[in-house]
């Protein structure tokens, strides 16, 4: 039915099967849209946030998808700036995943504010001292860059590409893509960092606050570093997942292993920096404010020292060790385990830097406050995932995302 739109030389499932998939995921998407409308119409009282939890599930989801979407900027940086040419075979998918992650982040932000119609105030009345201002500007600009990177891919659709203007536009955009990749990398280094800065500058919150250089707390650099390390892992994870679902090999093993190796190194060095940061914060910063490390991990039903071990050891040291080992990278099961752990690790990091910051008491006569999101919060967090799955399904079916697919699946 839609065979004229499918790239030449590749096989796709029947349109009926594809449509059923879209309808199922579309149902989930509609559930999220319903929750989103409830929130926009009735207000944030639809959530389980409260005056202790001004930041909650959504901000975590925001930070999470932006970190996971970091594969786009870092793979682009490696491909166009460093010159790792093999990565051209995975860059399209990295851009698509990045586009989904960043558009999701912007959507979540639009849902998360109390007065959505005033969202533009962040640009109009910008406070240059606020990390959130920097986030808003860089995020919007980088999303524009990702859109520019995604457009030529759309124009390469079999039918669109027959139009000479679109064909030439796509070709010319590819020619200058290095400039956009460089711009994107520059913007990403900043907004990933400013997201780390959002927590690090909270000098009223001993769990979050960090020293740093000039206006930038250490979390600024750690967030950029971790996005560079873990973002490509998510790109590889989704690639592997797509391969499993479609039953096809889509990217050659040498490309996967190259990106995995680079991620391993970035993650390994990041974890060393993270350990130093944690050690300094636990032994110098927090005690100077009258608090011990264990104060942040006790007297509450959830946040134990296990979460620190899970983030640094289980989801940091172990996956980086696997990715750094040639045997680990080449073993499909080990590689998939490492990629999964890495994605969980960065999500744990973002969780503690948002939720645990809010949960931990600062005044001596207050207690830990726990939080469970409402279904509306959960639905609106799942909404961008459903949107992402649909966009991946459509893009994979109609666009030449994987240049090596034809060769690998003759």
């Amino acid at each position: 039915m839609d065979s004229a739109l499918i790239p030449e030389g590749v096989k796709r499932c029947s349109f009926g099967k594809f449509a059923i998939g879209i309808i199922i995921v579309g149902g989930v998407l509609l559930w999220g849209v319903y929750a989103m409308l409830l929130i926009w119409l009735k207000g944030l009282n639809q959530t389980n946030m409260n005056d202790f939890y001004g930041f909650a599930l959504w901000i975590w989801a925001d930070l999470g998808v932006i970190a996971l979407g970091g594969g786009a900027f870092f793979t682009g940086f490696l491909r166009y700036i460093v010159g790792k040419d093999e990565l051209k075979n995975i860059i399209n998918y990295a851009v698509l995943i990045g586009f989904i992650c960043y558009s999701s982040a912007l959507l979540i932000l639009a849902i998360d504010i109390g007065q959505p119609l005033r969202g533009w105030f962040i640009f109009w009345h910008a406070n240059v001292h606020s990390m959130l201002t920097e986030v808003a500007f860089c995020l919007s600009c980088y999303f524009a860059v990702l859109t520019i990177e995604y457009i030529p891919l759309i124009l390469e659709n079999r039918q669109l590409n027959k139009v000479p203007f679109f064909h030439n536009l796509a070709h010319n955009m590819h020619e200058v893509m290095a400039i956009f990749a460089a711009t994107g990398a520059f913007l990403s280094f900043f907004h990933q960092g400013s997201l780390g800065g959002v927590a690090g500058v909270l000098f009223g919150r001993p769990f979050a606050v960090r020293e740093g250089i000039f206006i930038w707390p250490w979390t600024f650099f750690l967030f950029t570093w971790s996005a560079a390390a873990y973002g490509p892992c998510f790109t590889l994870f989704v690639t592997r997942l797509t391969e499993k679902i479609t039953g096809k090999k889509l990217v050659k093993q040498n490309v996967i292993e190259l990106l995995a190796k680079i991620s391993g190194w970035t993650m390994g060095t990041y974890i060393i920096a993270k350990i130093i940061d944690t050690w300094y914060w636990a032994s110098v910063t927090a005690p100077a404010l009258g608090l011990n490390l264990i104060d942040f991990y006790s007297n509450n039903p959830f946040y134990g020292i296990w979460i620190l071990v899970a983030e640094i050891v289980v989801c940091g040291i172990i996956p980086s060790a696997i990715l750094l080992s040639p045997k680990g990278r080449s073993n499909s099961t080990l590689l998939f385990t490492a990629l999964s752990l890495a994605c969980i690790g960065v999500l744990i990091n973002r969780w503690v830097m948002v939720l645990q910051v809010m949960a931990a008491p600062v005044m001596t006569f207050e207690n830990w406050v726990m939080y469970i999101p409402s279904w509306q919060e959960v639905a609106t967090t799942i909404l961008p995932m459903a949107y992402g799955v649909i966009l991946v399904m459509i893009s994979f079916r109609y666009l030449p995302i994987f240049p090596q697919e034809r060769e690998l699946n003759p």
Partner: protein, 273 residues
């Protein structure tokens, strides 16, 4: 109008609350709510989402009878100065909807500019900032009793104690009309100060040695306003928020409860830092 145009010395309005005198009656909370049109709901039992610009905490020393002791601690916004006006909440607001006035030392909140990101709430260690999760619903007839000098807030914005800033504006209007550029100490007082039956709250200019707040707190304004009176402390002094609300207590456990200290720390030595 003879003082018109004369350079005025910057004020630093602040508060001293004597915890030895506070009985925990809550009159300050009630007065604040009435004065500032603070919205309330039919069910106010969930204190995590109910608004109280002034909240009275009950502190205990954790001991059993006969050594048990309690203390009530009223907590308004601390109007932190931080480092040269770099208070925790002001610096993070992305839309400049909250500001530190170097003229009065008051941290303002511009409700019509706030778009409800709640970053300031996350930044405030005192939980002095509140979000309007609902639109205010005033019971029938009560709108007649709303204060016309204070704008009610809409759903989706953050609000907090303003040190009854509208009273400062009214007092300044009156002074200006009378040809004065300076206010007398009693011309600008917050509603909680006036409502406290025990007289536990004192309000005034921390820069003015003639004001009672200055004499009680003896702030060292060259060193972040640290109190000179050994019985006076500020909440979470060590964070560097430089708050303008001081507390008096003759009881060491109460002063110690004002901040976090390591178990092996010499409290008497460190709390003055």
């Amino acid at each position: 109008m003879k003082e018109e145009g004369k350079h005025k010395k910057a004020k630093k309005y602040g508060m001293v609350i004597n915890l030895d005198e506070c009985t925990g009656c809550g009159a300050c909370m009630v007065a604040c709510m009435a004065e500032n049109n603070v919205p309330f709901r039919e069910d106010e039992s969930n204190k995590l989402d109910s608004i109280a610009w002034m909240r009275v905490y009950k502190l205990t020393n954790g001991k059993s009878y006969p050594d048990a002791d309690i203390c009530y601690l009223p907590r308004p916004c601390m109007h932190c100065e931080g480092d040269h006006g770099h208070s925790p909440c002001v610096s993070v607001c992305p839309a400049t909807a909250t500001d530190y006035s170097h003229e009065t030392g008051i941290v303002s909140q511009i409700y019509t500019r706030c778009f409800g990101c709640r970053y300031c709430m996350g930044a405030c260690p005192y939980h002095a900032r509140y979000f309007n999760w609902w639109d205010p619903v005033w019971p029938e007839g009560t709108t007649k009793y709303l204060n016309p000098n204070v704008s009610p807030r809409m759903r989706g914005v953050v609000e907090k104690c303003s040190f009854c800033f509208h009273r400062y504006q009214l007092a300044m209007d009156k002074a200006y009309f009378e040809g004065r550029a300076e206010l007398e100490e009693d011309e600008y007082q917050t509603s909680c100060t006036q409502a406290c039956p025990a007289g536990a709250i004192t309000f005034g200019d921390l820069n003015n040695p003639e004001h009672k707040v200055y004499q009680l707190a003896k702030p060292d304004n060259k060193h972040g306003g640290r109190p000179g009176n050994p019985n006076v402390f500020r909440l979470l002094e060590r964070l560097g928020t430089n708050p303008k609300v001081y507390y008096i207590s003759s009881r060491e456990w109460v002063r110690r409860a004002g901040d976090n200290y390591l178990d092996n720390e010499d409290f008497a030595k460190n709390y003055r830092r």
